[in-house]
């Protein structure tokens, strides 16, 4: 490895922002969005290569159908769907990234989901490929997708009772000052499911689990805040 040398950055590149390699103009897309979707578009925001807005979670199917089928918009591809947890006292969020031939920008659609009743309509009717995205979000975040006909856990085992990517699920850590230090993962209060033993050993359907979680999450929010 002696021949490999490390170059030092020149002074003119220090933190200076260059123009994006392919600058985009979001104007036509923003105009079409406000025209076609009207009041559904909230908090419209544009980045260098992304157009983003929030929608009401109850309107997700209507908005997505327009985005996909309207010839002016034509967002034919669901590039990504991800869940975000904003903490035990806040909400969950489902973030969709879409792509269209017509517009050279990524479109990001954010939908807030109530933590106490984490339900949102499934988009598997529009894109079959949303199935694994939604199963993963259910598995990791505990978001229930109404209308998804195969909402099983995908990574964790079927009898697992917690949601690892929620923010109140802390990783065990050897550090003494870690909030999860010395706590047995099964006894961590934030993952403790009060209905754990009530109906053992049968495995419960997502619908029943959601019911449980609604009560559990309510108690946790009240106690933790």
């Amino acid at each position: 490895m002696a021949h490999v040398r490390r170059s030092r950055p020149a002074a003119d590149t220090l933190g200076r922002r260059r123009a994006l390699s392919v600058p985009i103009t979001a104007g036509p897309l923003v105009r079409s969005l406000t025209e076609r979707l009207g009041e559904d578009v909230e908090h419209l925001w544009t980045d260098e290569d992304t157009v983003e807005f929030q929608i009401d979670a109850t309107r997700v199917i209507d908005v997505m159908t327009v985005l996909r089928d309207d010839p002016e918009l034509a967002f034919f591809m669901l590039a990504d769907a991800a869940g975000v947890d904003y903490g035990p006292t806040e909400h969950l969020e489902v973030v969709y990234h879409l792509y269209s031939w017509k517009h050279p920008a990524w479109l990001r659609v954010r939908a807030r989901v109530n933590r106490a009743d984490p339900r949102i309509a499934s988009v598997t009717r529009l894109w079959e490929g949303a199935m694994f995205h939604e199963r993963e979000m259910y598995d990791m975040m505990g978001i229930i997708f109404v209308g998804n006909r195969d909402l099983r856990r995908i990574y964790m085992s079927p009898d697992y009772r917690s949601f690892p990517q929620r923010k109140d699920f802390r990783l065990p850590d050897d550090a003494a000052d870690s909030p999860a230090a010395g706590v047995n993962p099964l006894e961590r209060p934030e993952t403790w499911d009060l209905a754990r033993f009530r109906d053992a050993p049968g495995v419960r359907t997502p619908a029943l689990e959601a019911e449980d979680r609604a009560t559990t999450a309510g108690e946790l929010d009240g106690g933790g805040a």
Partner: protein
């Protein structure tokens, strides 16, 4: 296409008495058989030991007359890692298929929330372990957007160079593995010889042979030396011949074409709906390539076309890879010609703290398709949320769509043509 014979009878399952079954289950370390005749017995080993949770699961695990379940994997050499497939078959013909994932789940997304931005770039390496450079590219793009910084031009050229080299050996291995899964042992040996030459090149530049850890936020770790460029041109002078030889062994082989043509056909609409990307989508005739559709790095400065195939079958997916190897080599020529001089890393502090509330999406075209990262910052040194979209995870969903009506023996030919890597699927 083989038709299902409705009169086919399978022999009665082995009849075990309850005590003997309990003894055998205990000896095998299995749970006691739950109540209900439909959930007991060794012959039903694919059926979960519990009632179905969803409509689809009930449909999948309910057997009609003459049907049975065959369990493939997770420890099967042809499943490209630890993928478990449960096939519902009627005789030799597949009726339905279920995928069981999670055997390699390491929770990289969650772990990344506990690591600094720089350290996250090392965590993503072992995801899709055949396209490590691409794994690092997308987070690097996303974090640079978060932190409002750009890599110097030379660094962008070096990035493009290494990801195209990575694409060459990844597609090259796919050619060999596809042949291997259909019983041809020789091509994989040549594939590994070719891969080794590329890996030698990449290890000369990064110091690692598999998990390169080469990208940094704001640039790359090392500059390329003149010696590297000369080794690259030596490799370049022989690679066409090697690819040609491998292709000559596989592409025209009668057994290979007989087993892949017309197999696992996906229409363009279905492929888009299923979320397929990359070579799998282009083999169905959809010209979607992130390098063209949403150019990143320096791809807007390079000349190339989006290659597509029309057939959408396993053979088209194979031919698509062959064409993309040649295209990548063509791109490497352009990159080496155009590579500017200058620094390879912008000055970035050791611990990065992007402004709170910022969010960024970085997407690249990995050998398996659209690989993207969505990162959120809360102002701290670690990402608040780090989301990866792995293309093989999504493209595996095509299996239950393509398989019904095909023979059990074709499973491997179809799955191998999708080229999934379980490290990426399970994250």
């Amino acid at each position: 296409m083989t038709t299902v014979d409705p009169d086919i009878r399978i022999p009665d399952p082995i009849e075990l008495d309850a005590a003997e079954e309990a003894r055998l289950r205990a000896a095998a370390g299995m749970m006691p058989s739950p109540a209900g005749p439909e959930y007991s017995g060794f012959e039903m080993v694919g059926i979960p030991d519990r009632p179905p949770q969803t409509e689809r699961e009930r449909e999948m695990y309910t057997l009609n007359e003459g049907e049975m379940l065959i369990n493939l994997g997770p420890q099967h050499p042809s499943t490209h890692g630890v993928l478990r497939l449960v096939a519902k078959v009627r005789g030799e013909v597949i009726v339905d298929m279920d995928l069981v994932l999670g055997y390699l789940h390491r929770g990289i997304e969650k772990l990344s929330e506990y690591a600094t931005y720089t350290a996250v770039l090392t965590y993503v390496d072992p995801m899709d372990y055949l396209s490590t450079m691409h794994n690092e590219h997308a987070p690097a793009i996303a974090f640079e957007k978060l932190y409002d910084i750009k890599a110097p031009p030379r660094a962008e050229y070096i990035r493009a160079l290494v990801v195209e080299l990575n694409r060459v050996f990844s597609h090259d291995l796919m050619m060999g593995f596809l042949a291997l899964d259909m019983g041809g042992l020789t091509p994989i040996l040549y594939s590994f010889i070719e891969r080794d030459e590329v890996v030698e090149l990449l290890s000369a530049i990064s110091g690692q042979r598999m998990l390169f850890n080469f990208f940094r936020v704001g640039g790359v770790n090392w500059d390329v030396s003149d010696e590297f460029i000369s080794r690259l041109s030596t490799w370049r002078s022989k690679v066409d011949k090697l690819i040609e030889m491998n292709e000559w062994m596989i592409s025209e082989n009668e057994i290979f074409t007989g087993r892949t043509k017309g197999l696992g056909v996906l229409s363009a609409e279905r492929a888009i709906s299923l979320g397929l990307t990359g070579p799998n989508l282009r083999a169905s005739g959809v010209p979607f390539d992130v390098r063209k559709a949403h150019p990143y790095s320096i791809y807007h400065e390079l000349e190339f076309d989006v290659i597509t195939q029309q057939a959408g079958d396993s053979y088209a997916r194979y031919m698509q890879r062959v064409a993309e190897i040649k295209q990548s080599i063509h791109l490497i020529d352009q990159i080496v010609d155009k590579m500017p001089h200058g620094p390879v890393q912008a000055q970035v502090p050791g611990i990065i703290r992007p402004k709170p509330g910022r969010r960024a999406y970085g997407a690249v075209e990995s050998p398996r398709g659209l690989y993207s990262v969505y990162a959120l910052s809360d102002g701290g040194p670690n990402p608040y949320r780090f989301r990866m979209r792995d293309p093989s995870f999504i493209s595996l969903q095509a299996m239950p769509v393509m398989m019904p009506g095909l023979l059990l023996a074709d499973t491997m030919a179809v799955i191998s043509s999708l080229d999934p890597v379980m490290g990426g699927v399970d994250k």
